[in-house]
């Protein structure tokens, strides 16, 4: 499980991505829950990082669940055409729903 802060720089994103993919291996995780509650903007860069991350997670035999995307952010992502780039990645309203979903997967 990783919680993401509101104003991540590009370098932060890259580090998070690297940390997570190495931890999945070490911990033999089956699901990665990413909490985006605090993100006030999801632009194409952040979306691409998430997509790449999800692909890596899938290759390691685990699933990614994105939780906490806020209504305003969801609208902006759809309008920018970013939403469909996350097709196939699981989503849940909040951390609680996301963890329930993860448990069902394990």
């Amino acid at each position: 499980m990783a919680s993401i802060q509101s104003a991540l720089t590009d370098a932060d994103w890259m580090k998070l991505s690297a940390d997570l993919s190495s931890q999945i291996g070490e911990l033999r995780a089956r699901a990665v829950v990413l909490d985006l509650t605090l993100m006030d903007v999801m632009d194409s860069f952040a979306t691409r990082v998430l997509r790449t991350l999800a692909q890596t997670v899938t290759l390691r035999g685990a699933q990614t669940i994105l939780v906490g995307i806020q209504p305003d952010v969801a609208i902006a992502m759809v309008q920018l055409g970013l939403a469909q780039r996350l097709d196939g990645i699981l989503t849940a309203l909040n951390l609680e729903h996301g963890l329930d979903m993860a448990e069902a997967l394990v």
């Binding site: 994105l66 939780v67 995307i69 806020q70 209504p71 952010v73 969801a74 609208i75 992502m77 759809v78 309008q79 939403a83 469909q84 996350l86 097709d87 989503t91 849940a92 309203l93 909040n94 729903h97 996301g98």
Partner: protein
């Protein structure tokens, strides 16, 4: 219309006066006419109400003599303000406030315009009488007054326009209630035409409801939408996609197979949209996905 939301910035006031070419010499001409205005204020008001009360819609507003007396006094002050020379923020606030009062008592905008036009005509005659030897000056004064009157009309119109906008917002909200059928399941029956503004507002409303009611499923019924064209369909697709980002699945009901086929034919990608024939089957499917099982309850004999 709430008064505290009713403001116009100083920049805006300046730009409006600028556009009307309301300048210092206009201000001076009006101030110079203030003494004269005081002499005709009383008779003009009397004539004004005689004129107003000769129309049935005018009479309907002033049936109470006490109210009438108070309104006459306020009206006299209103007209005298036109030559007091202070057309700053206080003046604007006052004009907006009066507009709000008109709007609240339901005075039609046409009546307001008619009343102001009567006043202008009446005062014009008095100007030309007072400056019979200098009609040029009377005309100059009248033009200055006309600028100020149009400035007033612009302010009054602002109140009416904003009220209409507020009412439209309220109607839009009322027309699409987001209903919670049971825990985790929302129903959104859309009735009426769906333009971009309404679709946007509807999406925002739905997403906030998903968050506040912790919904996992939404049944969106479009039976009441008269024409589902590609534009409307794209709005639906976007609403579905945004809901999904928030972890909620949307089932669209009320799309006839013919309409769905036609949409696909013109290139709308409906592949990401779950559909069900009618509201009832949509709800059943949603309940199934939520893990609810519908069982028949035997009633006691």
């Amino acid at each position: 219309m709430k008064l505290d939301t009713l403001t116009i910035s100083e920049d805006e006031v300046i730009s409006r006066k600028d556009f009307l070419e309301f300048r210092d010499d206009d201000l001076k001409a009006l101030v110079d006419a203030h003494e004269m205005a005081q002499t005709y204020a009383e008779p003009v008001i009397e004539d004004f109400y005689q004129y107003l009360l000769s129309f049935s819609h005018g009479r309907s507003f002033f049936q109470d003599p006490v109210v009438l007396a108070r309104v006459k006094q306020a009206q006299k002050n209103y007209f005298l303000d036109l030559t007091r020379g202070d057309y700053g923020p206080e003046y604007v606030k006052n004009r907006l406030r009066i507009g709000a009062v008109h709007q609240r008592i339901g005075l039609p905008f046409q009546t307001y315009l008619g009343m102001y036009n009567w006043y202008l005509r009446n005062v014009a005659n008095r100007f030309f009488e007072a400056y019979a030897d200098n009609p040029g000056h009377a005309l100059k004064l009248l033009l200055s007054l006309t600028k100020l009157v149009f400035f007033d009309v612009g302010l009054a119109m602002e109140v009416y326009l904003r009220t209409i906008e507020e009412q439209q917002e309220a109607i839009k909200e009322l027309s699409t209630p987001v209903l919670q059928l049971r825990e985790g399941l929302l129903i959104l029956p859309i009735v009426g035409a769906l333009n971009s503004a309404r679709a946007r507002q509807l999406t925002e409303q739905l997403l906030r409801a998903i968050a506040s009611r912790r919904a996992k499923m939404v049944v969106m019924d479009v039976t009441g939408v008269p024409a589902v064209d590609s534009k409307v369909a794209n709005h639906l697709v976007q609403t579905v996609a945004a809901s999904r980002l928030m972890g909620a699945t949307v089932i669209v009901t009320g799309l006839t197979p013919e309409v769905a086929q036609a949409l696909v034919a013109i290139g709308v990608d409906l592949s990401s949209v779950k559909t069900a024939g009618d509201l009832q089957s949509g709800i059943e499917e949603a309940e199934l996905l939520l893990g609810y099982r519908v069982v028949k309850v035997e009633t006691a004999p």
